[in-house]
Structure formats: structure tokens, C-alpha cells
Amino acid sequence: VPERLPPVAEVFSFTKMPSHGGHVSVALLNAGDVRVLASLETDLAEMNIGQSVRLVAVPDPPVLRAEPL
């Protein structure tokens, strides 16, 4: 996780989209004073706007992943 980002962020919104024959989910997060996009591997039914998530840096591809606390 980049140094400028806190380890925990708040879910601003999320969605699930078809991608390459499967589906991908992403979450838009308020992380400190910036908004970042992160991939999501959680069932959307378990997600809520405003909930806190942990930010994890994934190297390949280089994205942030949001994990429920």
C-alpha cells in the first residue's frame, strides 16, 4: 500500500461487471483524503457502503485490493 494511503479505508461505492468470461468486482474507497479504486474478491451481498475495509497491495497486476475487516 502506498505510504500516502492509510491501511484502512471506507467503502464509497462498489459494483460487479462481466469480464473475460467471468466477473470482476471493484470498490471505490475513501482512503484518508483521497479516493482510490480497489479490486474486490468479496461477495457483493456482504458489502455495504460506509463499511471499513483493509487495503492490500497486489503486485501482479499492480492494484489495490479491498478486504473486509
Binding site: M17, L28, D33, V34, L64
Partner: protein, 378 residues
Amino acid sequence: MSEVRIAGAGLPPFGKFPDRSVVDLAVEAIILALDSAGIVPAEIDAAFFGAAGGFGLGQRVMVALGCGGVPIVNTENACASSAAAFYLAQLGIRAGEFRRCLVVGAHSYSSNPSAGAGALASTEPDFATGLTLPGLYALIARRHMSEHGTTPRQLALVAVKNHSNGALNPRAHHRGALTVEEVLASRMIADPLTLYQCCARTDGAAALVLSGVPGDKGPKVRSCVLLSGAVGTSSGSKSWGVDLVSQTAGTVWEQSSVAPSDVDVFEVHDAFTIGELVSYEALGLCDEGESGPMVERNETGLGGAHPVNSSGGLLARGHPVAATGAAMLAEIALQLTDSAGPHQVPSPRLGVAETMGGGTSGISGNACVITLLERGTR
């Protein structure tokens, strides 16, 4: 500074035209616009093109027209490409640099499937997460639903309204009416947005003749503002792009001393249903969070107090990305000259076209262009 008028508008039907090139589409629109203005190509001082994909669209079109020796500018600003071309052309006339300009937008997904919207560019940082443009708008939709209680039915009503309008518009790509049930039962594209809540990949072109020549008639450009988003995205309460549309609209209202409630007909950027709802709020047609109830009351339907996307909008008329801005402006010009057709709004005096371009990470909108037009003598 010169007064600027839309002296002619060319808006051929949109659709899927696999046997026609983007140049063919543009030439047809230009001929209609020149004919509508009652002028010949030699009376054009400069040409501004909205283009997405490939080099030199404007030059290729002008060669096909046999019209050379004037400045040709190609602009790319995603969905706002030809609206940005319009912005530049009217600035050129106001500055006294040109007397009459062509503004053209043309796009063919059939002949160039990779050009334009659909997915973010693979070089964009957000692309790595799998985010698509429908996904970007889905994030706005889910936030709006959570924050303001907007319902799936209210989102679907935008598609129902615009397809109902498109069914009346002979220039629309999709001319079939839809029910709320059909919209909600269509395939999920980006949760909560279903297929019929997403614009189509349409082929089409639109052209306008802008004039600063005294005596030329047509709708007057009261205000035309282009703003681009701030770099970086702060973690405020607003979704992507909403602030940008709001700021652009605020500048238009301030410049013109017109209130949103004074405007008789709007074309707004409904690439996805939620895009139209947040546009109501950003333009000032209703308070924040009130757009869902507003569409439910049909205030923005053809017979409502503030008709929005009487053409069918991007959802039904279609969204040939580089042509959309010019098409919106042509539609408003047709409305203000009582020439729109079966979807004509009764005698509008003021009309607004709002176009939003996106798809770049780290900025809250490539460009938003909002133009206020006023009925002229004809």
C-alpha cells in the same frame, strides 16, 4: 465580439451502417447542414471536427467534399469531442478570426470497433482492476441509491422515457418502446445497471454551421462553457464528474443570467441512466437527491415542465462517441426552429446541451461542455 448563431444543422439518422465509412457519414451530415444554412462550402472559413480513432478525419472529409485551403482542426475529448470542437469554433467566431465555421462529429463503430467508449484504455491505472465505463457509472448509481434512496425502478424510468422519445424520432437508432419490467429484466452489465440502461454503440454523424455574419439567422449561442476536471480525486461526498457538471452549469447560468427553470428543452449526457439523473441535480433542475422522484413524476418527459432528451438521448438515439456532442447541439437547434419532427417540444425559447467526456484515471472528467442556445429569427 461577434454574436454567434447556428445557421444550419445536419443530423442524418443514426444506426448501424457497416457499408458506410465515417467519411461518408460526415459528408452526408455536412451537406445537410450547408443546405440548411443556405450556403456553399466556399463560404466556410474553418472546420472543427470531433474525432475518436485514426488520424486526420477532418482532412479526409474535407478532401471528399473537395473543400480545401481552410484551417481544419480535429479534437478528441472522449464523448465530448465534437462539443469541444463546437466550443473552439464559437470562440474563433467571437474573436473575429472566422466568419463561418463548420462543426462536425462523426463516428463509426462498424468500421472501427475499437475506437471510442466501452472500456477504459489499457494504459489507464484503473484498467488493471477491471473497471469499465459502465462500471464507472454503476459506482455512481449504487452510491446514489444508498445516499438518496434512488430505486432501480427510477433508474429504469429514464430508459423507458428516452426509448419512448426515441420511438418518435426518425433519426434514432433504437425506435422501440420499453417497459420498466423489460429494462430491469435485461442482462446485467454493471450492477445495478442492466443492458437497456446502457447506451448503444452507434454509427452516426452530425454537422453544424456556426456564423458570426450579421444577417445570418438561427439559434443564438447565449453561453458555451468547457471545463475539465481537477487532477486527483479527493474523498468528498460527490461521485465522479458530478462536481464538474455542476461547476460548468453554474458558469453558464452566471454568464447568461438564465436560471435552469427558464430552459424549455435539454439534451443531457445519458450514456447510462444514472448519468441523466445526476445531470438533473448538477444542472440545478432539482435539488441533490431529488432526481429519482423527478423522473417518476415525468417532469422531464415530452409533456413535462422540463423535457430532457426529447430525441431519445444517448440511450435510444444512440451514442456515436465523437458525434454525440454535435448531435445534441443539432437536436437543440432543430427544436429551437420547430424542425425536430414528431418529438418536437412546443415552441421552446431556450435549450441546453450538456456533454460529458470521461475515461481517464485521476481526473474527474476529461471535459464537460454545456451550451445554452436561444431561439432566433428565421
